[in-house]
């Protein structure tokens, strides 16, 4: 191994530092395991902290702070996230930028606080009433802890939307050695607010379908934000053509700009076997592939980092392979369901586990059996 400068930290520290450097400026927190380190580091690093009394308040305060021109962040786990969902719908409808880090743990319900899982992907996929996508990034390793939060901030600001960063207990609470010199520079993402004499129309979209943003402190223009179906002026409507177009635009702005926030890792080796994975199972899959190569088994790898919406390129990659293994730490295969629906194609093999990380042997066994 080359002689490099190592640090030994948990993923939470890298996530918070990345968010701070990118321009997140306020953390609203309510503690829940396994997201507590994110809260803790944020109180040492982000310019402002507010301590909310519950997760509904957390998200509402964040919406208010966002509407005032801040870029708020929070971190939670499923039980807290569940309480936030109605308010995330509001932020989505009002088009308020913010970042929510969801550190997954074993469910259902309160489940096991200190046990990892990748079980919240389908929830996120369907969390907006009407089926609209919230841009969601899944952290697969420590490099992602550094790089994806920055992309989350950027996406939130450019698309005027809440963004989810999906991670899990094994990233947020596990210490790992890491070469500090491999960390790329992160620059603060500068914000542009509406700056024109012309009357501001809060939901009038630009070419990329995103309306310009103006915080509530403007003395020149009236700002209207609303959670209900509304026209471009932000005035509540029942279901006028303009209002419905505005609602449909919410989906369009995310999907049509997807190429700007498509992140994945693809390691090509042969055209027989492909492992598709996300979250902590990615690293385990890499280890399994490493060991399989010693047996002369060729296996390619696709690590999905943008998980909602699903980028088209995943299908292009998947279509090249005879056997596809979807490796994820949940009961029934949530990424698999998102990719292939309820009926898994014959050449797709699901590798799952709950309550513990997927074993390297299990992956190797499936590849040996099918590949």
């Amino acid at each position: 191994m080359k002689n490099s400068k190592k640090i030994f930290v948990n993923g939470s520290l890298l996530i918070v530092e990345s968010l701070a450097r990118s321009g997140a400026d306020v953390f609203v927190g309510y503690p829940i395991t396994p997201s507590n380190y994110l809260y803790l580091y944020s109180t040492k690093r982000l310019p402002l902290t507010f301590h909310a009394p519950d997760e509904i308040t957390t998200l509402q305060w964040m919406c208010g702070l966002s509407a005032s021109g801040k870029l708020p962040v929070t971190a939670t786990s499923f039980p807290g996230f569940a309480l936030m969902i109605e308010s995330i719908n509001m932020a989505y409808m009002m088009e308020l930028p913010m970042v929510i880090v969801l550190a997954q743990r074993l469910g259902p319900s309160t489940g096991t606080a200190t046990c990892g899982a990748s079980g919240d992907l389908l929830l996120i996929k369907g969390m907006i009433s009407g089926g609209y996508p919230v841009p969601t990034f899944a952290i697969s390793d420590f490099k992602d802890c550094w790089e994806l939060p920055q992309e989350a901030v950027k996406t939130a600001l450019t698309l005027r939307t809440p963004v989810i960063v999906l991670t899990s207990k094994e990233i947020t609470m596990t210490n790992r050695s890491f070469d500090i010199e491999t960390l790329k520079d992160i620059k603060k993402i500068e914000r542009k607010f509406y700056n024109s004499e012309e009357t501001y129309i809060p939901y009038k979209p630009e070419e990329n379908f995103v309306p310009q943003f103006l915080p509530l402190y403007s003395n020149k223009h009236q700002v209207r934000l609303t959670a209900s179906t509304h026209d471009q002026k932000g005035i509540l409507q029942h279901s006028t053509k303009e209002a419905l177009e505005n609602t449909a635009r919410l989906q369009k702005k995310i999907v049509s700009n997807l190429k700007d926030f498509t992140f994945y890792e693809y390691i090509e080796d042969g055209n027989q076997n492909l492992i598709v994975t996300f979250d902590v199972s990615s690293n385990i899959s890499k280890e399994a592939i490493r060991e399989l190569r010693k047996e002369n088994k060729k296996v390619s790898l696709l690590v999905a980092k943008t998980v909602v919406p699903v980028p088209e390129v995943y299908y292009e990659i998947i279509s090249k392979y005879k056997k596809v293994y979807v490796v994820e730490e949940n009961l029934n295969g949530q990424l698999c369901e998102i990719l292939f629906g309820n009926k898994t194609p014959n050449n797709v093999i699901k590798i799952n586990s709950i309550g513990k990380m997927i074993s390297i042997d299990k992956i190797k066994e499936e590849v040996r059996k099918n590949g």
Binding site: M62, C63, G64, S68, T174, S177, N219, I284
Partner: protein
Amino acid sequence: MDKKLLNSNKLPFCAGCGHHLIAQNTQKALENLNIDPLDVILVSDIGCHGIIDKFSNSHTVHGLHGRSVALAAGISLGLKNKGKKVIVFIGDGGATIGMQHILEAARLDIDLTVIIHNNMLYGMTGGQASGFTPKGFITTTTPSESKTRNYDICQIALAAKASFVARVVAKPDFSNVIEEALKNEGFSLIETLELCPSYALKMNKGMKLQTILDNIGEKEFVVKNENYRWDFYTNSTDDLLEKIKKIEKKYESKIDKTLCVQLSGSAGEGVQTAGEAFSYGGIVAGLSVNQRGSYPVTVGVGFSTSEVILSPEDDCTYNVNSPDIIIITSVDGLTVNIEKLKTFKGKLYLDSSLETPQTEAEIKRYDFRKFGPKNSSVFSLFYLLKENDIYPIQSFIEGLELANLKDKVEVEKFKTELGI
């Protein structure tokens, strides 16, 4: 822009509804205080009162049912010192749903003026009873009469230390109360009592608000308390990575494949920090390391396990099929591993005081607790390193320094005991 709050004299409320009076009195209070509508953020939520935003020349934010006080609190916190007035219009339904938000904003004395449109039932959804419905009141869901008492939201807000609280019966001019609330640079709550013309008046013929107040023993009042001032939690914003120890490789490790060591003992006996020192030792010896802890949610009691994976590869795996070595220093550590040990085939280092578990492992015993419980974890790792060529002892000693443990354990005694 029109300097008045309202852009129309024709508001969207039913004839005779008190919501008209609240909107008009708010406008008058703002005019009297010479506040420009663009210096006002009017936050409303679900309920008939919420339709007002279309008619307002202020900034308007229309949120979720019951959440407007929290949303407005976020806005007020975000706009601190920007000379803005944040006003919340909320109904009695919303105030019930979002009572926690009211308490929190009151406790923190957040600069807001909350006007509760209390018509004592859910008007928009068909006149159902709410938590604000007084005993004896007829609603569509209490057709004979309400059998339960109502919330006294003013007393609740006062108990949460609100700096301004008032109860008024909606009347042509109560703008002076709203003016006072707006002047208060803290949390103001005005409960305005109204009778819904579509439901309450039809079902409670001839009912007067004053009679209701008399019946339930409440009255109109205005209270101004001292303001509560607190500083925001502003943080240092120092780079987190600056303070982190940077570790350079100094020694060579002998391992050529991934090795997993699991150390299990009791909470309070330094298992996690020993695991950390052992990890640092691995890094000083040029290995990549993954360390995770496992313990009950009550961190101060019961078992404590630290699993350290060491690898000569650059990116150490997060997980292995099974540890290669398990060290157990206490009964708690043994109990939690009983199931796992049954099929465990690696090396098991067991404190000599412990009973032999059912296992397929190769067992070695030693008195790890010889230097006391606080030394047991680190001492067991010295033993491990002596028995196995993982990395040099000196590397572990540097690991102890990095983990700030070196002076807290008996390193010299360990070395003498083990003949290192």
